[in-house]
Symmetry: C2
Subunit: 186 residues, 2 copies
């Protein structure tokens, strides 16, 4: 099973509904990489169109890439090996297609129910993934959510993660952990 | 169902196996509070014996407690209402006992299998919780894990969260999200 994760910083909404590019958050590198390695994800793409933002992330990744880092904290160093920094989603899809010999099925996630898109339950998609040779790419949004332009590129969208109440404003780090556990953890 | 979460910063191991007190991490306040509110946790205790560390956390909690914060970002402000800062686990247990009229069942978590403790599977404990009037307190460790002194206070310990491989070094924020989803999310 070949599963990839991409964290997108553009095009996303800010809280006023404007389409923006968000900054890369250091904890998104650490936490999501560690979850990805735990659940056997092949590569974790951090996607941001701003060169200075990519340089910032590259600098952190470089810090964790040498022998000293491996000795200082091997669990971080191992997780950081999964990270690849890209400018655009298209580059991510092209790289996966090249590596796998076929394009990935693109899985979306959203904190709000989406209409007009093909949806799948977690259990159903989990079974499908375990019995498939197709690579999968899970897209995560930042800010106040991905725009419809990105939802239009998804093959399937998972339902929002809900608890007993109405509040479901998980961090993207927590949402990613739960999504990987539901799809790949049992 | 009454479920509480406590994040302990002492006594925990550092990577050399010394017993230390860890610092409070800002993202642990945000991410764990948001996950707790999503899954209906009644209170999220941040426990640290160092007064300056508690002051640091109080300052962040205060920032998110006024009307301006609610207007700036209500999803954070609502989540921060769940946070209570304490010096010791005993205070947490006493407060829950006072509020609930009975002491909590203490649930431990560990990234490594523990011997000599009563263990429970996630599904089993999840069913028990849904049919019980007992309050539950989930303990989370920081650093390189909780000491045996704390494991001795637990009524039951959950198995490590595992993916397909051997690496399971999740952040405490990700581990908490998965634990709450497995226990309270279906």
């Amino acid at each position: 099973m070949s599963v990839y994760v991409a964290l997108l910083h553009h095009p996303v909404f800010n809280k006023r509904g404007d389409v923006v590019t968000t900054c890369i958050t250091g904890f998104d590198l650490h936490d999501i990489a560690r979850s990805c390695l735990t659940y056997g994800v092949k590569k974790y793409y951090v996607v941001n169109p701003l060169p200075t933002q990519r340089q910032f992330a590259e600098r952190i990744v470089d810090f964790w890439s040498d022998q000293e880092a491996l000795e200082f904290n091997w669990t971080r160093a191992e997780a950081f090996k999964l990270i690849a920094i890209k400018a655009e989603l298209e580059e991510v899809i092209a790289e996966i297609t090249q590596a796998e010999g076929q394009g990935p099925k693109v899985i979306g996630t959203s904190a709000k129910p989406k209409s007009g898109v093909m949806s799948s339950e977690f259990g159903e998609l989990s079974s499908e993934m375990k019995n498939s040779d197709t690579p999968y790419l899970i897209l995560l949004g930042t800010g106040w959510g991905l725009t419809d332009e990105i939802f239009g590129k998804m093959d399937v969208v998972l339902p929002p993660i809900k608890g007993p109440g109405d509040y479901n404003h998980l961090s993207v780090r927590s949402a990613n952990a739960i999504i990987l556990d539901r799809l790949l953890g049992r």
